[in-house]
Amino acid sequence: MSFNSLSDPRRVNKIIRYKAPSSDSNPTLEDPTPDYMNLLGMVFSMCGLMLKLKWCAWIAVYCSFISFANSRSSEDTKQMMSSFMLSISAVVMSYLQNPQPMSPPW
């Protein structure tokens, strides 16, 4: 493109393509919340399943929701879905085994 008038600062020949910066730096350095919540969700759902604790299962559902809300767009949806399904199954199994309602701690 020919050199425009001095007032136009645009230069097509100087275009440089965008390079995603996260490929260089560690993405988890920026915000570890979704990964922590994912892990917590899995831990709580396993506790809920093994120890038959209803409140653990419910907290696991909450953790997986929080992880989903904070997730980056580059993150795997499969991981998110699997943790979500695991927490839901923990809740369902706890209620199937013991249909009594949850008692509050107070």
Binding site: V12, I15, A20, I66, A69, P101
Partner: protein, 492 residues
């Protein structure tokens, strides 16, 4: 042979009699007292039990009556052993029952099963009725599941907040882009690029990295390589974050990073911003901590408000950057400016490694970094985005200004000296580590050689290789000795 079958019938009778006899006086079995003497028929056992159960049943309801009739007991005791068949059926059956009670109490407690219980239940009849609550899961009501309903309500609230927050962030981003689009398109030939398309054509829209972070890459201008704009909104889609923000208000931020070519900027490091931000930069940023050793100075000399302070490599740089127009821009938008950094040695925050210092100097890039706060302190509306337009004008002006700003001879010398000093310090600090690294490399090489010699099967070749390595080692030692001698001579 028929005895098992015969036993069945009284067993059935017993089962049937038990519920019926509890509530009323069963006249039939009153005569059973006759058979208290052990008869030699098959039914004897069971009839005794029947009598017992009948008698026990009757002690329960009329226990109140028995209380009343207790004074009569003494009189009755004399007649206790008299068989009740002597006409005590009709009148005063209460007496007969109390007699039964006494009679049975004289017997062995173990012989009559359940009589203790009957006495107890007799006592419990004196107490008021206790109504036990049915366990919750057996009730047919939703009220008992209130904790679960609470949980589900919480989840629904979270989902609602997610949708609302996501929507708001998206609208804010779009509003920002709409108000800045014209300015950007008149300055850059490439506005919006996600790096994936084959040709460098403007996408004309923001990249959504997250539900709260939006990127925009602009390129194709004189005086700079490119400009990356990051809209760092608050996490409105996460309810936890929303609640945390109620305690501690935070702003949305717009971060603009302009990368420059080698000849677009002279060598200097400069920053201006809020006092807190300057302190943080000086502590955390690699270039700020190395080149701007002095504490942040007040900008009152240039007419800046007190909330802002300046970090600079040298006074000349400050004078050069802070011209009238710049001061004008900053003063008018002081509440929106978080920090502005101009640096030719920009490499990001300090890298802390576990083994100590990194072995190589970090890569530097000539960069202008602007961080602006969106007004509203979290409660922003799309209209507020227009107020950021003058700040974008300032950015464009800074890019052009930095290109033109050149240090004089003295300044340049000072700057070069600073950079050399920093590099030297770095090399000194890592000297020990680099030595170690070189040593390990040499040892690895030797080990590899030795292994090669060991693995060599032909003895002849083995010997030759060993001799070769020995000769090399000898040469090295000689060289070192020569060096030491030379140093000694020089020292002398």
């Amino acid at each position: 042979m028929g005895s098992p079958r015969l036993l069945l019938i009284p067993a059935l009778l017993l089962l049937l009699a038990l519920p019926y006899s509890k509530g009323r006086y069963n006249e039939e079995f009153d005569d059973g007292e006759d058979l208290a003497d052990f008869d030699d028929n098959d039914f004897a056992e069971f009839e005794d039990m029947n009598d017992d159960s009948a008698a026990e049943a009757e002690t329960a309801p009329p226990s109140r009556a028995s209380l009343a009739s207790q004074p009569e007991e003494d009189e009755d005791e004399d007649e206790a052993t008299v068989e009740l068949e002597d006409g005590l059926d009709g009148d005063g059956f209460e007496d007969s029952e109390t007699q039964d009670q006494d009679m049975y109490s004289k017997y062995d407690q173990e012989e009559f099963e359940g009589i203790g219980d009957m006495e107890k239940t007799g006592h419990s009849m004196k107490d008021p009725l206790i109504i036990h609550t049915v366990p919750a899961h057996l009730q047919n009501s939703w009220e008992s599941y209130y904790m679960e309903i609470l949980m589900v309500t919480g989840l629904l609230a979270y989902i609602m907040n997610y949708l609302i927050g996501k929507n708001k962030n998206s609208r804010l981003a779009q509003a920002w882009f709409d108000s800045h689009r014209e300015l950007l398109e008149s300055n850059f030939s490439l506005v919006g690029d996600d790096g994936t398309s084959k040709e460098g054509v403007s996408t004309g829209k923001l990249n959504q990295e997250n539900e709260h972070i939006y990127n925009l890459w602009c390129s194709g201008r004189v005086c700079c390589e490119g400009m990356l704009i990051q809209l760092k909104f608050l996490k409105r889609q996460d309810l936890l974050n929303v609640l945390a923000r109620m305690m501690r208000p935070v702003c949305d931020q717009v971060q603009i990073k302009v990368t420059l070519n080698e000849d677009d900027m002279d060598t200097f490091v400069f920053a201006v911003g809020t006092k807190k931000a300057m302190a943080k930069l000086q502590k955390e940023m690699q270039d700020m901590s190395e080149f701007c050793g002095d504490k942040p100075k007040s900008g009152a000399k240039f007419g800046l408000p007190d909330s802002l302070s300046i970090l600079s490599e040298m006074g000349e740089v400050t004078d050069g950057v802070m011209d009238n127009k710049m001061v004008h821009y900053i003063t008018n938008n002081a509440e929106k400016i978080e920090s502005i950094q101009f640096s030719d040695q920009f490499s990001g925050p300090k890298v802390t490694q576990e083994e100590g210092q990194p072995l190589k100097l970090p890569e530097t890039k000539k960069t202008l970094l602007f961080t602006f706060n969106v007004p509203g302190m979290g409660n922003t509306s799309p209209k507020d985005m227009d107020s950021l337009l003058p700040l974008m004008n300032m950015v464009i002006y800074s890019i052009d200004k930095v290109k033109k700003l050149r240090l004089n001879r003295e300044g340049k010398m000072k700057a070069d000296r600073n950079r050399a000093r920093v590099e030297e310090n770095f090399l000194k600090q890592t000297h020990a580590q680099r030595q170690e690294a070189a040593q390990t490399r040499r040892e690895d090489k030797k080990r590899a050689e030795k292994e090669k010699i060991m693995n060599e099967e032909d003895p002849e070749r083995q010997r030759r290789l060993e001799e070769a390595s020995q000769r090399r080692d000898q040469k090295k030692i000689e060289k070192k000795q020569m060096k030491m001698k030379q140093i000694k001579v020089k020292a002398m």
